[in-house]
């Protein structure tokens, strides 16, 4: 009844009996069922005139639009443009973010000094800055990349700080008893412990990098998937709009899955941990 008795039972069933469940009870089957239900409801609503297909489109139309735009070189040029921005913004953002996070995480005074500044900066509505970024960097990739960076940096700083703010007292005591230097404490004890949290942060940061880039694209410029979506929206081509959205989501999902895969490799020990 209580949580303490419910938890082990749940783990047990997930671990040892997960494979013996009937097929249709698998998470994948349930997932597909949910998606199918939503798509069916959408299609039905559009067909029965509960929503206006002109603005809301409908799944079959989106599939058709996908068939139309997927072969165009225009779409792939836009996709390449967006992905480049996302990648550059991501790499710069996480590098800066991890760097700042580790520095702040290893110095308590600096952390206490800078935390309010970071919080204030992070609460700035970034999207409002896009016109300024355009004024600085022109209409190309620049402002979009900068936008992604300003979002990703904060995600990573917060992640790294969270990860490092939970030092394990036992292993710190061990580190001192083994005569570890400050640097060794960081490299051999604190940072490895932070890795799982940081990796989940990397996943989040990727999504935020897309978010920053697309937001900036919608507001400015004419290249990239975000701009393409604005273009279709302005022409009331909801089918095409959703088709681009599907392409975008496919990219984010694929890349996130790739990070998950790397995570599994890197954290092979993590699955043994009960906490």
């Amino acid at each position: 009844m209580s949580i303490s008795t419910a938890t082990p039972t749940k783990q047990l069933s997930a671990k040892s009996f997960g494979n013996s469940l009937p097929r249709w009870k698998s998470p994948l089957a349930i997932r597909i069922l949910i998606i199918a239900l939503i798509l069916a409801a959408w299609e039905l609503s559009a067909n029965n005139g509960w929503v206006d297909p002109l603005f809301a489109s409908r799944p079959t139309d989106v599939v058709q639009a996908l068939g139309n735009i997927l072969p165009t070189s225009q779409l792939w040029a836009d996709a390449g443009y967006t992905l480049t921005e996302v990648a550059i913004g991501y790499v710069i953002g996480i590098t800066l973010g991890v760097l700042i996070g580790v520095i702040l995480g290893s110095s308590r005074i600096l952390r206490e000094a800078c935390q309010p500044i970071l919080n204030a900066l992070n609460s700035v509505p970034r999207i409002a800055l896009v016109p300024l970024f355009v004024a600085w960097l022109g209409l190309g990739m620049g402002p979009r990349i900068l936008m992604a960076v300003t979002v990703v940096v904060f995600v990573m700083v917060t992640t790294v700080l969270t990860a490092m703010s939970q030092p394990d007292r036992d292993s710190m005591l061990l580190a001192r008893s083994l005569g570890a230097s400050r640097r060794e404490q960081l490299v051999k004890f604190e940072l490895p412990r932070a890795v799982p949290v940081v990796i989940s942060g990397l996943e989040l940061a990727l999504i935020y990098s897309f978010l920053g880039v697309i937001a900036a694209e919608i507001v400015s410029g004419s290249n990239g998937l975000g701009s393409r979506m604005t273009y279709y929206a302005n022409l009331f081509q909801a089918d095409n709009f959703f088709a681009v959205l599907v392409v975008l989501t496919a990219f984010t999902t694929l890349l996130t899955a790739a990070i998950r895969r790397i995570e599994k490799r890197l954290l092979h020990w993590h699955k043994f941990e009960d906490r």
Partner: protein, 284 residues
Amino acid sequence: MSLELEPARTENRKMDTQTVEPGASGAAISVRNLFHAFPHASGAPMRVVNDVSFDIAPGQFVSIVGPSGCGKTTALNVISGLEQQQSGTISVLGKPPEAGRPEIAMAFARDALLPWRDATDNVALSLELQGVEKAERRARAAEMLKVVGLGDYLHAYRGQLSQGMRQRVALARALVTRPQLLLLDEPFAALDSQTRVLVQGELLRMLDAQEGPVTTVMVTHDLAEAIALSDVILLMSRRPGTIRETYRIDIPRPRDAVALRGNSHFNELHENIWQTLAEEVREV
């Protein structure tokens, strides 16, 4: 039967600290007039360790027992250098206390294994921090794990090991550096009573397997454990702790930690020391 035990009883009764080993100059650890205080919740200093003095001869296994909160851990941490010394004179292997000396190893109640390292690399950690080269430290770690019966678990991660196995890895990590001094703070506290006795046996085997003599200081709650392992038991009073009694345990070595339980001499010693310990515990 009681006649037979008479000499042992008198011999184990109340010895002056000096009689533990004559001549403090040759002592592995010498502590004189150690006091220690912590700021109490109210802010006023609270004395925790109260004028503790003792000598430990090289190669001896000494246990410190006493009621909870009497300052055992504090005293051990001052000796190890993990806690800043506040007063008194301490000599540890001829030097003042300092944390992280390579000839001193420690183990605690919680194993503190690093979950991202397998058993071998956890044991090798202490060698790694001493700058031992990779191939050698791996080989020595594996060898040590075999000594504690974990030869089949060289590459197991923390999450794959039972409590008793984890604690054996932690002890292996301490002993793999071939320390001259081993400082243990309730190293078996996390184990159930049966596993505890088994791992105690492992510790004795590990100490026997070491090349040179190893001096050991172990803090423990468990009187039976102290008797089974020690040459000398220091009994501390309740807080602020001071050494109330010193007992010499004359059970011959090599000892079998498992077989000892139930031995009548063992039981007699236990009863004898427990009388005094119970007084301290009861009055807390």
